[in-house]
């Protein structure tokens, strides 16, 4: 490995806090994830437990910050140099904007100094109803929505182009590291690569839940995959620079399509094109009889 192997990576989607969701169950597992993160070149993690607004017993900002503080002191006593910031992965319920506006929960990512980002959990099957309107309302409340793992959503995996207008309106698109390396299947991988290639996705994150199946190490593997296909600079932008800007609450610097091509002009050739081609061929053939 060369010295430039994605050092100082920032992971903005990581279920690091114990006992809050389907992530680690206790502090032991939590610390194991933190150690694995540091070993694989991650310097900063935004801890993002699942939050479902309106359901009882959801952790508020205060609870999350408190646990982050405890994790920090445990890490310090171990001499583990991982920076941990509070955050949340918020489920996009229809009245999300109202929940966010109430301010109490304060589920934004990272430090939220100047620009505040909020990570939105995307369901794996369908898009939430009126998703574009929901994103607009979140933005009206002064928050920039970060769309988590759209490539794992069945609808968007088939048509990643549908994310282009959302990204153009200012939403940040996050793809999951394991999707890029094929861990969630071929369709998710193709969609994720399409999104990073065309400068639509701006952030790669682990969405780590444990140290075995969905491990923090995925980010380094994704970095290598990206560096191989798109170059070291593109990999650093996606795994280091842009995620760091999100975690620090800074505005994102301008998008750079990894292949230098405009996003709209290229359409991913899909099954539909293939079918259309075959049909045209069949019709030509039939008419020639």
């Amino acid at each position: 490995m060369s010295a430039s192997t994605g050092q100082g990576m920032v992971d903005i989607h990581h279920h690091l806090l114990p006992g809050l969701d389907d992530g680690p169950r206790d502090w032991g597992q939590s610390l194991a994830m933190a150690r694995a993160a540091v070993r694989s070149g991650i310097r900063t993690v935004v801890a993002t437990p699942h939050v479902h607004p309106g359901r009882p017993g959801q952790p508020g900002r205060a609870a999350i910050v408190e646990m982050v503080d405890e994790l920090r002191s445990r890490l310090a006593s171990e001499g583990c140099e991982l920076e941990v910031l509070p955050g949340a992965e918020v489920y996009p319920v229809p009245d999300l904007a109202r929940w966010l506006a109430q301010g109490g929960p304060g589920w934004e990512l990272g430090q939220g100094a100047r620009t505040r980002y909020v990570l939105l959990d995307l369901p794996l099957d369908r898009l939430p109803p009126h998703f574009d309107r929901l994103l607009f309302e979140v933005a009206l409340g002064g928050l920039i929505p970060v769309i988590a793992h759209p490539e794992r959503n069945r609808q968007l995996a088939e048509r990643p182009q549908a994310l282009v207008p959302l990204a153009e309106r200012g939403a940040v698109v996050q793809v999951t590291a394991q999707s890029l390396t094929g861990g969630f299947g071929r369709q998710a991988q193709q969609a994720a690569m399409w999104l990073v290639r065309h400068g639509v996705a701006r952030v790669v994150a682990t969405d780590a839940h444990d140290v075995v199946h969905r491990s923090p190490r995925a980010l380094q593997e994704a970095w290598r995959h990206l560096a191989h296909h798109l170059g070291v600079e593109a990999a650093d932008r996606l795994c280091v620079h842009w995620p760091r800007q999100v975690a620090r609450g800074e505005p994102l610097s301008d998008p750079v399509p990894a292949d230098g091509q405009p996003a709209r002009r290229l359409e991913a050739p899909g099954v539909r094109d293939l079918v259309r081609g075959l049909r045209a061929w069949w019709e030509r053939r039939a008419s020639s009889f």
């Binding site: 607009f136 933005a139 009206l140 409340g141 207008p165 153009e168 309106r169 200012g170 709209r264």
Partner: protein, 280 residues
């Protein structure tokens, strides 16, 4: 809209504002003469709300809006520049603002107009950025709230400039043009095909907009002299003339205000050194 199709000159590193400093005196002078031309055009009917648009993307609408706003403010007018391009806003960039609170926030009733408007010093110019970008821009710009908001703006400012999306293929600009006192059509020299400009004109005329004229942007200063105002009049032969300035294409535009009403342009500018190539 192809957002990343082609970086605009300001994205290529040049500034959007040319009105301060020594470096772009030629362009600043062009904007001041554009201001004068507008004052002449306003003699007949008052021009309070102006729509600035272009036929296609990347012609420099926002840069023209920003610089014209500064020129008007320098002339002592109370000016509001509005980022009414809800597709691909860039007016805010000229003034180093962000766009996260602005026009759409006001239209949706989230903030009052006074809170959303930003004062830009040293010109004492007011700017209303676009606000978060909605999924239904045309609907918002055509809404009754927008109508009421324009009325409120007329009460408070002497001149309101609306920076809008391109007019061809999108209805946004036409909607606003119909509600404003005049339209400036920005045309990027050597770039926009003639039939596209004609289509833009037709679209604006269909909604009864009053087209004041064309602002010809990115005119290449030639080696033959410093002051060249090209008049654009259905010019077919804007061929490139390779010159020393070609590589550093002028982000500081040469500007001209020309008629689009079927007559040759009125020589309203003080210097009408149109060359044989530009005026026919």
């Amino acid at each position: 809209m192809r957002r990343r199709a082609r970086p605009s000159p300001s994205e290529r590193g040049g500034p959007m504002l040319v009105m301060d400093g020594e470096r772009y005196q030629l362009a600043a002078e062009a904007f001041r003469s554009l201001r004068t031309n507008l004052q002449y055009a306003a003699l007949g009917r008052p021009l309070q709300v102006l729509t600035v648009t272009a036929a296609g993307p990347d012609e420099g609408k926002s840069a023209v809006t920003a610089n014209l706003a500064v020129a008007l403010a320098q002339g002592g007018s109370r000016v509001l520049a509005v980022g009414a391009d809800l597709r691909r806003p860039s007016l805010h960039r000229a003034f180093g603002l962000d766009y996260h609170v602005g026009l759409t926030s006001v239209l949706m009733g989230r903030v009052a107009l006074e809170e959303a408007v930003r004062r830009v010093e040293p010109w004492g110019l007011d700017v209303l950025p676009s606000g978060p970008l909605p999924p239904n821009p045309a609907e918002m710009l055509g809404s009754r709230q927008m109508e009421a908001l324009l009325e409120a703006m007329r009460q408070r400012w002497e001149t309101v400039l609306l920076d809008t999306p391109p007019v061809v293929a999108l209805s946004d600009a036409a909607l606003l043009a119909a509600r404003s006192d005049g339209v400036l059509l920005v045309v990027s020299a050597h770039q926009t095909p003639r039939d596209v400009v004609v289509a833009a004109r037709r679209q604006l005329e269909q909604v009864g907009a009053r087209i004041l004229g064309v602002v010809l942007n990115r005119v290449r200063p030639t080696e033959s002299g410093r002051y060249h105002y090209y008049y654009y009049y259905y010019a077919r032969d804007h061929q490139r003339r390779p010159g020393p300035d070609d590589t550093a294409a002028p982000t500081a535009p040469g500007l001209a205000l020309a008629g689009l009403d079927g007559r040759p342009p009125q020589p309203a500018a003080s210097r009408t050194g149109a060359t044989g190539e530009g005026s026919r």
